[in-house]
């Protein structure tokens, strides 16, 4: 029998594991939502599968061995002009006395020739969502509910684990991409230079934004040349904000676009039945519900895999709940009435201004060329092994759970002896008051 092994398109890596610091514990492997990590020979964790850049492995590592790969600042080289936009999370990172306008001026003082307030584009995007939902309602058999295309982790998670749901994601470009695209176009015209002379930077709370550059899902290429984490420029920006002297107004947006950094911020400006779901586990639960058609009467779901939304991103500096408080203050201060005219948004929407230039691809691991007969045979062998395992899901074998271990064995990646319990052919008693048998299993092997 040919071996049926899972093959993924060349994985783009978003995390690197420091082999010096890693002690081969199971935490990152257990946390990975796509089961992409294995602990190699009990010593060191390795990424072997499709990574969706959720950052869970970074969050759980007590030794700081997992790190996000970021773009270096080299992307600015050869730039005649530079444009920057920042996630609205940035506005919540400097406490309640620093206003968005101060931060935008600080960015300009840092040397960016063009500073764009992303919250303005966010508000416009809200209008585009409403128009898209209305269009979608008119179509028969349209996928329902729609899923926000904004969080890059969610999009990748769907491509890996819920490929059927890709069609629920509107092919709208995220505001950060629209801003970068327009900045290049407009500055090139203004200065009479080539678009490649203009380099765009996005300041982000989230390592996954790097992924949009390396591997854009909805664009043939990304218009963002570099993504920089908030924590990476925090001290420099803080110093520049303190030294700002000029008094120009760069911030024009209202509260609707400002609140996007919080869970629920994106949908707060959409006047339809929307849900905001945040956190990785809840995101997976609700994607499962949508897959089973169990989320009726909802038009649009804003998913953010970080809890509390982008405020919970790995590159943030401020405590996320404090930051949430500041952000709520900003929303109240600038008011929730919309500032961009509906007719203007509609005109741009009709012209395709909000749309991405391609559909997302399925990134699911596909079984290599084997027949169904062989795949059934493989699954039977997997099930047989699973039935013989104690189902403690301990991960000591180096695979994230018993079922994945059985697959790894059948596919020839590891030996059955890697299972500590299997070595002695009987379940060991480890732990407090442990059960002697795996009596609580509902699934039983059928002879």
């Amino acid at each position: 029998v040919k071996k049926a092994s899972l093959s993924f398109p060349t994985p783009v890596r978003y995390v690197e594991i420091d082999e010096e610091r890693c002690n081969g514990c199971v935490l990152c492997m257990k946390a990975c939502p796509t089961k992409a990590i294995r602990v190699h020979e009990g010593r060191v964790a390795k990424v072997i599968g499709a990574c969706v850049a959720c950052g869970e492995c970074i969050r759980v590592c007590p030794r700081g061995a997992t790190r996000a790969i970021t773009t270096d600042q080299g992307h600015m080289e050869g730039a005649k002009y530079s444009a920057v936009s920042a996630s609205t999370v940035l506005y919540s990172q400097f406490g309640e006395n620093v206003m968005p306008n101060d931060i935008l001026l600080g960015l300009r003082k840092m040397g960016f020739s063009y500073v764009h307030d992303l919250s303005y584009t966010n508000e416009m995007f809200n209008g585009a969502i409403e128009l898209y939902i209305r269009d979608n309602r008119k179509k028969e058999h349209a996928p329902w509910p729609l899923i926000s295309p904004v969080c890059p982790v969610v999009v990748r998670l769907i491509a890996c684990r819920f490929p059927e749901l890709l069609q629920h994601i509107p092919s709208l470009a995220a505001p950060r991409e629209i801003v970068a695209r327009e900045a290049k176009k407009r500055l090139a015209i203004k200065h009479g230079c080539d678009e490649s002379d203009i380099k765009t930077t996005h300041i982000t709370p989230c390592p996954a934004k790097m992924t949009c550059l390396m591997e854009p899902f909805f664009q043939t290429h990304s218009y963002i040349d570099g993504a920089v984490g908030i924590s990476q420029i925090y001290n420099l920006l803080r110093k520049n904000i303190e030294e700002v002297e000029e008094d120009e107004v760069l911030h024009h947006s209202g509260g609707v676009g400002l609140g996007w950094g919080m869970s629920g911020g994106e949908i707060s400006g959409v006047g339809m039945s929307c849900l905001a779901v945040s956190g990785l586990q809840d995101t997976i639960d609700y994607l499962e519900r949508i897959e089973m058609g169990r989320l009726p009467n909802i038009d649009y779901v804003e998913f953010r895999t970080c809890s509390e939304g982008c405020l919970g991103g790995l590159f943030t500096v401020a405590d996320k709940y404090q930051a949430k408080r500041y952000m709520q203050q900003l929303v109240r201060m600038y008011g929730v009435e919309k500032r961009v005219k509906y007719e203007y948004i509609k005109k741009l929407y009709t012209r395709g201004w909000f749309f991405a230039d391609k559909k997302a691809d399925i990134r699911q691991g596909v079984l290599s060329r084997t027949s169904l007969t062989e795949r059934i045979d493989r699954q039977k062998r997997v099930d047989e092994i699973v039935a013989s395992l104690p189902r403690k899901e301990c991960g000591l074998c180096g695979s994230p759970d018993c079922e994945t271990f059985a697959e790894d064995v059948v596919d020839g990646r590891v030996h059955l002896d890697n299972c500590l319990y299997f070595q002695e052919k009987k379940p060991k008693s480890i732990g407090i008051g442990c059960e002697s048998e795996s009596s609580r299993h509902r699934e039983q092997a059928v002879p």
Partner: protein
Amino acid sequence: MPQLRKRYEIEPKDFVRAGEVSLQVQRTLRNLGFDEDLIRRASICAYEAEMNIVMYGGKGELVLTVSPNEIVLNVNDDGVGIEDIAAALKEGYSTASAAYREMGFGAGMGLPNIKRNADFLDIHSGHGQGTCLNIVFNFAGDLE
């Protein structure tokens, strides 16, 4: 002909674990590399059948059988049974209690949903006799 059989027990009134069996079915079919549309249809049927047992069944079981040309779900329980099968197949017909409706169930979509998504559905039931569903999905042989 190779055949994969998996048997799952379903506990009545266990709303905490409800849905777990259909997730297992879905996972298995996905591991086998089936077409996404087929996986979706089969998972929806498994879910509806599972929920019927959780709500109305006594002890029940779901047996998944995968062969190179069909997927079969056999779902049996020794619960209250269905008195009027023809009526139960109509959308909106439900015998659910007010409590179940409050939980978001009992819209009378269970069996109709199964019938719509399956290629073949056979129901054996009667008042107090438990229920036995035979749900079949066909596909064009080996996927090569």
